[in-house]
Amino acid sequence: MKAKGWATPYIIWMAIFIVVPLFLVVYFAFTGENGFTFANISKIGQYSNVFLRSIWMGAIATVISLLLGYPMAYMIARIPAKRQSVMIMLIMLPMWMNFLLRTYAWMSLLEDTGLINRLLQAVGLPQVHLINTSGAVILGMVYNYIPYMILPLYSILTKIDGSVIEAAQDLGANGRKVFLRVIFPLSMPGVISGITMVFVPAVSTFIISKMLGGGGNLLIGDLIDMQFLGSAYNPNLGSAISLVLMVMILICMGIMNQFDDGETMEGGMMI
């Protein structure tokens, strides 16, 4: 009974700020000037290239984050505990800085007259066009979201019982096999949550693509932004796009979780 009483303010809070807005999104998505309509949803078809590009770039950023973040998390999890906290601090430090500021900083680095190009010029190399490319957008995504990959990986890797690793060595596994057959499978929950935590914001970002991608790298986030704040003002279409994006992310997460469950429950042969 007591617990129920405590939960009430949270339930009210969630109802006002989560459930109601969700309903509003759904409502706007299926309404137009003449009431109920599927027009908004069907219009999304013409933006399929934007959807594909968002998913593609989000996926690449996620894969790069995983490839860079896993060794990092693994390394941190193995150093002495005191240095671990320093390393984790260093990883979180950029997150304390404003997101916009961080992305602006990259802008001034990548510009045609930016720091990188000036350095290249100074050593006599030709200029490289970096800003306003899809590469710059992916770089921005990786830079901004990689802490969300490292942290869950780090926390799961530190939780792996050292004696399990010793047992694998004891049973004849060399370093590579210990990793492939024991450490990596046991870190799967961390991999899954890292992927989710990077992929979801990367797919729906709009600041990064706006600042680093120029006009040619329109993402779903930018599209939604335009419907509400931009020139193409159309909240109904914006809601519809948001709804589709939400459904897509839900499906992605569902697939990931399915994979995770299968791994931990049944075990079996990974490799």
């Binding site: 019982d161 004696s163 399990v164 010793e166 047992a167 694998a168 060595q169 004891d170 049973l171 004849g172 596994a173 060399n174 096999k177 057959r181 024991v182 499978p185 046991l186 799967m188 791994e263 931990t264 429950m265 049944e266 075990g267 079996g268 042969m269």
Partner: protein, 379 residues
């Protein structure tokens, strides 16, 4: 083959983080096919020995030989020994079958051979039909059996067991003791077993190595260790014992507790101070007038098989185990035959183990020792 040395440690010294060495110039040989137990209190270095043989600790100096070959610097995965870890260390992401098959998969054995071996091993440890279970849902005893099957499936020359039964309850522990002994006998694999439980050591081993502070106090058969302890530490650690200050008057004659007794020990100097051990179950109780020593019963404790009687003899509290009831406060006599008395040389442990006046404290210590098993891993 029976008496060939399988593993030997030569002048092994191990220290952690530059602290005082856990082992210093340690020497030990283990024969092929033996069931050897390392017995000692927490922190005595027994787990360190096991981990050195397993390859998880590299000694600061000294060498370890396996089948005559130096393995001091060989990594664990290249050693033909397998370990049963204290907390089993089963792979939580694999089911029972895959846990047992792990070592064989690493060695790329054929699926047919793996299948046969896994089922044979599961049968050996009495876990037929558990192959598809997840290990998380097994009881402690079952997990232990999986760990044993997993180790044995690699066909090791030697099995290292690190207090494998300490996490099990009393009843299960007894069952697993006899089961381990049986497995050792049927497979003929050399077992090196680490424990702080003297009863476990006595009931299972061919050879017991009693250790304290990184030093071997005594090596021998369980009977030797129990009947002929070398010093006060061994006498106190193995079973119950009354340890008294004595004086060896001449061969076969010793005096203690204000009286002179015949004994079976010789080879001491004349009037050499000694430690005298008398096991509680060897003491015979009689009427006060007929006793070689007299004392007053101060407490009586029913233990099932026998009574534990504490008797005050001139201020020294003896423990006596007797099947007869004696009333508290009554004066009784004690009779000791020559073969009830065991005489030991004085050692650094002399005088450290008093009489049974602080009996309850000692019991508490035992309980503490048993519950601080976890600390052993960091030893």
């Amino acid at each position: 083959m029976e008496n060939n040395v399988l593993v030997s440690l030569e002048n092994v010294t191990v220290s952690f983080d530059g602290e005082t060495p856990v082992l210093k110039d340690f020497n030990l040989s283990i024969r092929d096919g033996e069931f050897v137990t390392l017995l000692g209190p927490s922190g005595c270095g027994k787990t360190t020995i096991l981990r050195s043989i397993g390859g998880f600790i590299t000694p600061d100096s000294g060498d370890i030989y396996f089948n005559g070959v130096k393995i001091t610097d060989l990594p664990p995965h290249k050693r033909n020994v397998n370990t049963i870890f204290q907390r089993y260390a089963l792979f939580p992401h694999l089911n029972v079958y895959e846990n047992v098959a792990f070592g064989m998969r690493i060695k790329n054995k054929s699926e047919k051979e793996i299948n046969e071996t896994v089922h044979k091993m599961l049968e050996l440890v009495d876990l037929k039909g558990y192959a598809k279970r997840g290990v998380g849902k097994l009881s402690g005893g079952q997990q232990q059996r999986v760990a044993i099957a997993r180790a044995l499936a690699n066909d090791p020359k030697m099995l290292l067991l690190d207090e494998p039964l300490s996490a099990l309850d009393m009843k299960l522990r007894k069952d697993m003791q006899s089961e381990l002994k049986k497995i050792q006998q049927t497979t003929g694999i050399t077992f090196l077993f680490v424990t702080h439980d003297q009863q476990e050591a006595l009931s299972m081993s061919d050879t017991v190595v009693v250790m304290d502070k990184g030093v071997i106090q005594q090596i021998g058969t369980p009977e030797d260790i129990y009947n002929e302890p070398k010093n006060a530490f061994v006498a106190d650690f193995i079973g119950e014992s009354n340890i008294l200050d004595g004086l060896m008057l001449e061969d076969y004659v010793v005096s203690f507790a204000g009286a002179t007794f015949k004994c079976l020990d010789k080879g001491f100097e004349k009037r050499e101070p000694v430690d005298v051990v008398i096991r509680p179950e060897d003491v015979k109780v009689t009427e006060a007038a007929k006793g070689m020593l007299r004392g007053v019963v101060t407490s009586l404790n029913f233990q099932g098989v026998h009574y534990e009687i504490i008797v005050d003899v001139k201020g020294f509290k003896w423990m006596i185990q007797s099947t007869d009831f004696e009333e508290v406060g009554k004066e009784i006599g004690i009779i000791l035959d020559p073969d009830d008395i065991h005489v030991m040389k004085k050692s650094e442990y002399s005088g450290m183990f008093g009489d049974y006046s602080t009996f309850s404290d000692e019991m508490e210590e035992d309980i503490n020792a048993a519950s601080s098993v976890d600390g052993e891993a960091e030893e």
